[in-house]
Symmetry: C3
Subunit: 354 residues, 3 copies
C-alpha cells in the first residue's frame, strides 16, 4: 500500500562524502543501555540500545510507519518498540509485531547497522553499500585490556568537521598557546622539539622527543622520578581514530624509541567520528599507570585531560565558524602541518576510492 503521506521534504545528505568500508567509534559502551541513545553518525540518524540479553542494537532512528524516531521508544525483551503505535523491531531491523494487525508486510523493516562492543567502545560499520557486510574486524587497542593501565573517558560534541580535530591532534605544537593555562608550559619548548613524521598504509606517525626535560607537575605527582626526564610524544593517526602515547623516563636510563620503555605513561585513544560534514563526535579515553596514589592521580589525569579538550573545543569551533565566515580563502601552511596534511591526503584518497 503506497503512503498517502505528502508532508515530505527534500532528500538529506548521504554517507558518500566520508571514508567508507570501515569501522567508526559510535559511542562509549557505558552510553548504550536499555534507554535508547539517538546519535547521528555520517549523516545517518542511528538509535543505539542494549537488549536484556546483552545484544547491541543499532538501527535507523525512524519507524517505517510514521517516521517517529525509534529513540523515543522503549527497549523490549527482543528489540525496540516504537513510542507512537507500538511497532516492534528486532536488532536485525525486522518489524516483528504490529499491534492490532496480524500480517506484517515484508516492507515493515528499518536499516540495521553492524555494531560491536569492544571493551569501553561501541564500533559501527559504514560500508559503501547500505547493506554491505564488514570486510574486517574493528581495530584492536591493547591498552584497554592491559592490566598495567587505569583509564576513563568521555564523549564531546563538536560544531566543527572531524578533520579539524585530526589537525589539532596531529600537531601538538599548539600546546603552548591553546593550553597555556593547563598543560602547555613553555611554548617555545613544544615548538622547537624535533619532529619525525612517518607514513605507513593509511596511518601517519608523528614522533617528538624532548630529552633532559624538567618533568611537569602531573608527572612528578604520579611517578617517583629521580630528577630530569627524557620525554616523548607519539601520535598515530588512523582514519577512524588517533592513538597518542606520551610519557617520560628518568634521564638517560632507557631508549625512548623502545615500545617497552618504562616510566610514566599517558595513553590517549581519540575516536573522531563525523556526525555530519560540519559536526563531529570526539569519543576519547585516557589511560595511565600512576604509581603514587593510583586512583587519585588517575582522577586528576582525567580532569586535566577534559579541561584540555575543553580548550581545544573552543579553538576548533571558533576556527570553523571563522572558516565559514571567510569562505573559500587559502590557508598558509607552516612547518608543523606536515603530519596533519598527510592525514588529509589519506582521507581524500579513501573518499575517492569508493
Amino acid at each position: 500500500m503506497a503512503s498517502s503521506n505528502d508532508v515530505m521534504v527534500t532528500s538529506a545528505p548521504t554517507r558518500s562524502e566520508f571514508a567508507l568500508d570501515m569501522w567508526y567509534v559510535a559511542a562509549l559502551s557505558a552510553e548504550v543501555s536499555d534507554k535508547p541513545l539517538a546519535r547521528t553518525l555520517l549523516n545517518e540518524p542511528v538509535v543505539l540500545f542494549r537488549t536484556q540479553d546483552g545484544q547491541i542494537g543499532a538501527l535507523e532512528d525512524r519507524c517505517c510507519h510514521r517516521a517517529l524516531p525509534l529513540s523515543l521508544g522503549t527497549v523490549d525483551e527482543s528489540g525496540l518498540r516504537c513510542g507512537y503505535h507500538g511497532l516492534l523491531f528486532n536488532c536485525a531491523g525486522a518489524c516483528i509485531e504490529i499491534p492490532g494487525q496480524e500480517k506484517i508486510p515484508s516492507k515493515a523493516k528499518v536499516t540495521a547497522y553492524h555494531a560491536i562492543e569492544k571493551g569501553p567502545l561501541i564500533w559501527i560499520w559504514f560500508g559503501s553499500e547500505l547493506d554491505s557486510e564488514p570486510s574486517c574486524e574493528p581495530p584492536e587497542y591493547s591498552v584497554h585490556t592491559d592490566k598495567r593501565y587505569l583509564f576513563d573517558g568521555d564523549v564531546y560534541h563538536y560544531e566543527a568537521p572531524y578533520q579539524l580535530i585530526h589537525d589539532n591532534l596531529l600537531d601538538l605544537s599548539h600546546l603552548g598557546y591553546v593550553h597555556a593555562n593547563t598543560i602547555g608550559g613553555n611554548a617555545k619548548i613544544h615548538m622547537n622539539a624535533e619532529m619525525k613524521v612517518e607514513s605507513e598504509g593509511d596511518s601517519v606517525r608523528v614522533t617528538r622527543y624532548m630529552p633532559n626535560s624538567t618533568p611537569p607537575p602531573t608527572y612528578t605527582a604520579a611517578y617517583p622520578f629521580a630528577g630530569q626526564v627524557d620525554r616523548w610524544q607519539e601520535i598515530v593517526f588512523y582514519p577512524s581514530h588517533l592513538e597518542i602515547w606520551t610519557g617520560a623516563v628518568d634521564v638517560n636510563t632507557e631508549s625512548l624509541d623502545d615500545p617497552n620503555r618504562g616510566g610514566f605513561h599517558l595513553r590517549g585513544f581519540h575516536g573522531v567520528t563525523p556526525q555530519t560534514a560540519e559536526t563531529s563526535f570526539y569519543i576519547w579515553t585516557q589511560a595511565s599507570n600512576p604509581t603514587n596514589n593510583p586512583a587519585e592521580t588517575m582522577q586528576l589525569v582525567i580532569e586535566q585531560t577534559a579541561e584540555t579538550f575543553d580548550e581545544d573545543k573552543v579553538v576548533i569551533e571558533a576556527q570553523y565558524a571563522n572558516m565559514q565566515r571567510f569562505g573559500q580563502k587559502a590557508m598558509l601552511d607552516i612547518h608543523v602541518d606536515v603530519g596533519a596534511n598527510r592525514a588529509r591526503r589519506i582521507i581524500k584518497r579513501l573518499i575517492s576510492a569508493k
Copy 2:
C-alpha cells in the same frame, strides 16, 4: 507616491497551499482583547483585537506606512493605532487618521479579514481571493451552548504541519503508547477495538466501541457508574477542526450508537489551523458532564487533557523533525491509518479545487 524604501526581501509564501474558501479557528475568544494579539494564520500575519464597542478586528499585521507590526500598536476607540507614527486603522482596514497630515491617500489601508466570535471561538475566513466574501457561516458546535456541559480550553503551538495533528487525532490507537503514563491504560485494548470508518462530503467519522470495559479512574471519579461500562469513541473530522466524543454508560443499559445516550461524556473540540506549512495552532476545548463534584472534576479533566496533549506535542514535533531529517522516504501504512488517509485525501482535493 512610490516608496524609496529599498530594504526589501523576496516574497513570502502564500495561502494557496492550504484549503481555502472556509472558516478557520483563529483564536479563543478569551485571547482577543484591547491588547492586540499577533498571530500568523495560513502564512499571513494577522493582528486580532477587540474595540471598546466590542467589534472583533482582524487586520494584516503591517502598517502600510513603514511596515511596523500593528500588533505593537494600541487599540483606540475606533480601531488600531500604529505604534511608530500613529496612523489609525478601523476594523475594515481603512486608515482614518495620519497624525500631522490632513489628506489621507486612498492607498492608506491594510487587508481586513472577516472574523466572527461564536462562543469561546474566534473564526476567520480565508477565501481563494484576498477580498472574497464568506460564502457560508462558521461551523456550528452545539456543545458550547449546551447547558449540560462545562468546558474550558487552551491554545497550543506546534512545530509541525497541521496534517500530522489530524493524523494523531483520527487514530486513537496511539493512546496505549504515547499516553501510557496518563490516559493510555492497556495498549492492546485500544489497538484491538473494532473500528468503523465512514465518509460524508468533506468529513470523516471514525467510531470505536469497547463494550463491557472497566471504567478508567477519571470516569468513576466523575460519574456514579454501577460497575462495568460500555465505552465509545467517536471522532469526526472536518477540514477546519475535529470533534471527538468519548464516554461510557453502565454496561448493557443503552445503545451506544444513540446520540442521546446518557452516562459520562467527554466532548473535545479541536481546531487545527495552519500557521505556516510547517507549523500549526491547535485550539481546543474539552467539555464534560461530571455529576460528582462538577467544578473539581472538570478542573481535573482539563488538567489531564492538557497533559495528554503535551505528550502528543512531543511525539508529533519529533515525528516532523525526523521527517525533515530523512527527507523524501516512503511511509508504510497500517490498519489504523484508514481514517487519517481519508482526511488527507479530502484536504488534497480541497487544495487542488481552487
Copy 3:
C-alpha cells in the same frame, strides 16, 4: 605552498553593497584595549586592539595559517599573537614571528585597516579597494572637545539594516508614539511642528521649532528656565553618522536659528555603521550643558537617552522582521518621510558611485 585544507564554504558577501571611500565609526575608544575586540563591519570581521605603546590595531579577524579568529589571541608588545600556534602580527598586518620556524613567507600577512582614534571614537576607513589609502580625514565633531559639555555614550547592536536607523533619527515625529512613556509627551505637538528640510552635498538637515512650549521635566530639572521656552530640534544626516542638536531657551529671548544660542542643550552623536546588510552597530554619545547638579543631571540624561534608544531598537527590529515576513511590498510615504527619503537617495548615489 598551496593549502591542502579542503573544508571550505562558499564566499561571503562583500563591502561593495555599502557606501565606500569613507570613514565609519568602528567603536567607542573605551572599547578598544589590550583585550582584542571582535567586530564585523561592512561584512568584514575585524579585530580591534590597542598595543602597549598606544597604537590602535585593526586587522582582519583571521589568522592566515589556520583561520582562527585573531580576536582569540593576545596583545603582545608589538602586535597581536594568534591563540592557536602563536603567529605574531604587527599593526600593519605583517606576520613578524612564526614560532619554531625561521623563515617567514611573504604570504604570511593579514589585511590591515586604517583606524584613527579621535576623542571618544575609533574611526575606520573602508575604501572601494581593499588597500586604498584614505582620501580625507575622519569627520570633525567639535562637541567632544567643547569644554561647555559633559558627555557619555554606548554601543547598541541592531538586528536591522542601518538605513532603518537613519529613517528613525531623521523623523522625530515618532517621539509621541514610540516614546510615549519616556520623552514623548504630547504626540500631536511633535506631529504638527513646522519642519524644514535642506540638503547640501551628502548631508541633509531637518529643523523643527516649537516656540512658546512648556519645557519637559528633564529640561527644568537641568536648567533654570524662567517659564515657557522656545524649543528646537536640528538633525543633520551624514552618510556615516547623524548629529542631533535639541534644546530650549527662555521664550522670546534668543533667535532659535543662531548657532550661538544659549539655554539648555542636548547634542547627540549617532554613528550608524553596517555590520552586515541586515544588522548594524549604533554607536552614540549624548552631550549636555546642565547647570543644576551637572554630574547628576548628566547621568539622568544618559539614562533617559539609553531608555529611549531601547524603545527605538524594539520598534526598528520589529519593523525589519516584519519587512522580511511580508517581502517585497510597497510602503506608503507620508509627510514626515521627506528627510529620510533624501538620505536614502544620498546613500544610493554613493553606492552606485563606486
